[in-house]
Symmetry: C2
Subunit: 164 residues, 2 copies
DNA sequence: TCGAATTCCGACCGAATCTGTCGGGATTAC
DNA sequence: GTAATCCCGACAGATTCGGTCGGAATTCGA
């Protein structure tokens, strides 16, 4: 039961972009160096983030990636869905694409158990919906000598249309 | 982000044992047939459950497995930990064995991100701690009359009807 | 116009994990 | 003794993980 490094690296990438938000595009090489991650691998990950509309890319010299909107407006559930796919602790409990998943639930204890996976899925989803990228980006204004982690303004109601 | 079939099959196995609780040991062959699962594979899974003290085994003819205690007394978090290992959405956020896991958190955004995994882990853990095997076992009232049913006291059965 | 920087994209690849299978040994009821 | 059953280690095909590689396309600045 775990996320892959795809999720971890991707989130770290997003945090770096959050710190640079408003400074124009940042190159992957720069971020790869900062986070000590393989740049070619980040290239793959950032594709998913771009396709999900979370980052926008600028090609050519002095190009790079930047957040498509402010960190406060990016719920972490959108980030992890882009990186890891739908939140589904088990095939029968996906939060997306409810297409033709009935025939897999025919046996006795199977549907009973499904209740468990749905509860887990909802727990994860709710947690992720309540967090935005801003909750993970260190204060850009305050000095680095402040408290470790501060939950800044929480996005209320998470009115994200592009949530899918 | 998902559990493996190990988790699914193991939980289904436990539900079957829950339905049979009080009837003495049940053979794996019987359960494998009921759930339509490969018996040799279940053999592997049940080892973990036995080692975790959740089921007890009886060897020899007419042997089998049975719950070590009533379904009400078996929290689902114990079941999934036995089957899938510690609840850890990321290496840095395991709920067990906090041994020497500091050196992995040295870089800038890494520890910041760790906050996210801990939140997810806690959400899963809390959910699982609030559920017992009894919540997944269908009512045993309509059991076949041939079975010598032993009505055991059902503990307040974790009043948690609402939710979801 | 040229070249450097950068994204874009598909192909490839070794290692690990997943999802089992197989064969036999140990133990017990009858 | 025999049948049923658990116990346990080894093996193995398929898939996923965690990248690497090479080059094409695009853009900026000189």
């Amino acid at each position: 039961m775990s996320f892959s490094t795809k999720g971890e690296y991707g989130v770290r990438l997003m945090v770096q972009l959050g710190r640079r938000y408003g400074s124009g595009p940042s190159s992957l090489a720069e971020i790869a160096t900062d986070e000590d991650l393989p740049r070619p691998y980040l290239e793959q990950l950032v594709m998913s983030l771009r396709d999900a509309g979370l980052v926008i890319s600028t090609r050519g010299s002095h190009g790079g990636y930047e957040l498509s909107r402010s960190p406060e407006e990016i719920p972490m559930i959108a980030v992890l869905r882009a990186l890891e796919g739908p939140i589904a602790p088990m095939i029968c409990a996906s939060d997306e694409s409810e297409l033709a998943h009935e025939p897999t639930c025919d046996r006795t204890a199977r549907c009973t158990v499904n209740f468990l996976w749905i509860r887990i899925r909802d727990a994860i989803s709710t947690t992720l919906e309540g967090m935005s990228l801003a909750d993970l980006v260190p204060e850009r204004l305050a000095a680095p000598a402040s408290e470790p982690i501060i939950i800044k303004r929480r996005v209320e109601a998470v009115p994200d249309p592009a949530l899918v």
